[in-house]
Amino acid sequence: MSEILGLSGVCKSYGAIVVADSLTFSLRQGEALGVIGPNGAGKTTMFNLITGTVAASSGRVQYNGRDVTHDSAAKRCRAGMARSFQVPQPFGHMTVFENAMVAATQGANLKGREAESTCLDVLDQTGLLDKANAVAGKLALLDRKRLELTRALCAKPKLLLLDEIAGGLTEEECHLLVETIKAIHGTGMSIIWIEHVVHALLKVVERLIVIDFGKMIAEGDPASVMESREVKEIYLGIEVDA
């Protein structure tokens, strides 16, 4: 299968702090990739670099066979990349439905009824339909996270980037979310999912990468990555610190 995303030697530093250290990996069309790593490792930064929210200091980002390193975030979205933000970024004075409509009309370039029915379908899928007329700025955190997922899906992406959407969910809610993402993945969508709730992540992804201090330190089949010395060291380290 062909490659949808490829990073080669992508670096980013803030002053002396290196937050992305020569990231190199690729994602196959239709693949689901999980990303784990301790707090502050640079996972969200990697999403910023992939989507173009932050410009890379060096290196290249290939998407769908094209070099998009210098494309704006908006252009990359219109080309089929959509993300959810770890810290939700709703359009606060607009309703949930209007938030979704922004994604459908701008990101997916849908018009009129087609945009509206796409939004209704996605809201139904993400469980926000009852709150379609609620003002987004007044939603509680969990619903804000659902809205992040909703908007990303309404942009009709080819590549979906999810940043910690399972934190704080109950057992049942988490199960529903996993089913939703599985269903989305089942339609052939390529997914990269950053998640601290590892058991949820492992139910979906086919491959796992581990990031620490901006560096990719492990990569491969989820079960063996979880068993690797690097991962154990990091997570033991965290336990010792805590």
Partner: protein, 342 residues
């Protein structure tokens, strides 16, 4: 059964239906004003319409596109001078000159945007003000347009508007009413369109907007140029009313920006209703405080600060928080379909 069968999306609400009927009746009544109002009242109304237009435009710029300009007097003055230059030297009829001023304003705003869009935040605001000052100093150098002391609109140009004083006053009044109605219609239709949805998204969150495919710089540029063109249009009408122009009057930061900001801020920035309420409030204050002299400005400032502290979203924000009312149906509402009813 899919959601599309169980739910429907509406754009109009009952409140907005009522508002549009009331608005239309009001427009008709106001259009008939020359038959039942005195000359002084007509002039006051004309001034109100022009301020309403300026406020609507500044609100699009600052309230939606986040472009806080304190230099829109550049375009008001440009419009005034365009009217005078095009009629006196171009020999155009005033109507043609007013129409052409839109194009002049839009064309001028393109290089200005290219210059000031490099600046951010407070620097942008200062940049717009500097540009307006450059315009003022520039026009003061043109002796054919009266230099620093100004010029009056020649009598034959004024006469070409209509025969007789009353007909001229009425024509001038209808132009201002038409201007306010057109600016409101444009703002409304634009904000309701998909580009308007993008602009509203930018108003709320630029990071999310750009990540969802919205080209922020392009959107802001388009808004700046359209607002520049229309503000120039309003400016030409302002000086058609005044019949006299000078650089200080044309590029007055107090008259064309400070008052306009006051109107939008107390009315409610980032909504279409806000500038309307703000304009009404401003003129009520002005007419009641007219005897105070220069203290009047201090009172206005104090009111603006008080409103910003008590109701940061302005008077309309207050009303909306209390009632949830929306007069302009810009948004979308999702309602379940009732069984058996299509």
């Amino acid at each position: 059964m899919s959601v599309v069968d169980t739910h429907r999306v509406f754009r109009v609400t009952t409140a907005s239906r009522i508002a549009s009927v009331v608005g239309l009746l009001l427009l008709l009544a106001l259009a008939a004003a020359p038959w039942w109002m005195g000359r002084a009242d007509l002039r006051l109304l004309g001034e109100i319409y022009l301020y309403l237009s300026l406020a609507m435009l500044w609100n699009l710029l600052a309230g939606y596109a986040g472009l806080v300009s304190v230099g829109q007097q550049a375009y008001v003055g440009l419009g005034g001078y365009a009217l005078f230059a095009l009629t006196i030297f171009g020999g155009l009829h005033p109507f043609a000159a007013i129409g052409l001023s839109v194009v002049v304003g839009a064309l001028v705003s393109i290089p200005v945007a290219a210059l000031i869009f490099r600046l951010r935040g407070a620097y942008f605001a200062i940049g717009t003000w500097v540009i307006a000052e450059v315009f003022r100093l520039g026009f003061a150098q043109v002796s054919a347009l009266g230099g620093g002391s100004g010029i009056s609109l020649p009598v034959d140009v004024v006469r070409s508007l209509a025969d007789g004083r009353d007909a001229r006053e009425a024509t001038s009044y209808w132009l201002t009413l038409g201007c306010a109605a057109a600016v409101m219609a444009i703002a409304y239709l634009f904000l309701r369109s998909r580009n308007g949805l993008a602009l509203t998204a930018i108003r709320d969150n630029e990071l999310a907007a750009s990540s969802l495919g919205i080209d922020i710089c392009r959107s802001k540029f388009v808004v700046y140029v359209v607002v520049g063109g229309l503000t120039t249009f309003v400016g030409s009408l302002i000086f058609l009313q005044k019949l006299r122009i000078s650089p200080d009057a044309a590029f007055s930061v107090n008259d064309w920006t400070a008052y306009v900001i006051f109107i939008v801020v107390i009315g409610g920035i980032g909504s279409l209703e806000g500038p309307i309420i703000g304009t009404v409030a401003f003129f009520l204050l002005r007419e009641t405080l007219a005897d105070l002299g220069s203290i009047y400005l201090i009172v206005l400032g104090a009111i603006a600060i008080a409103v910003m502290l008590v109701a940061p979203k302005g008077l309309w924000g207050l009303v909306q928080d209390l009632t949830g009312l929306r007069l302009f149906p810009l948004g979308y509402r999702v309602e379940p379909r009732r069984a058996g009813k299509e």
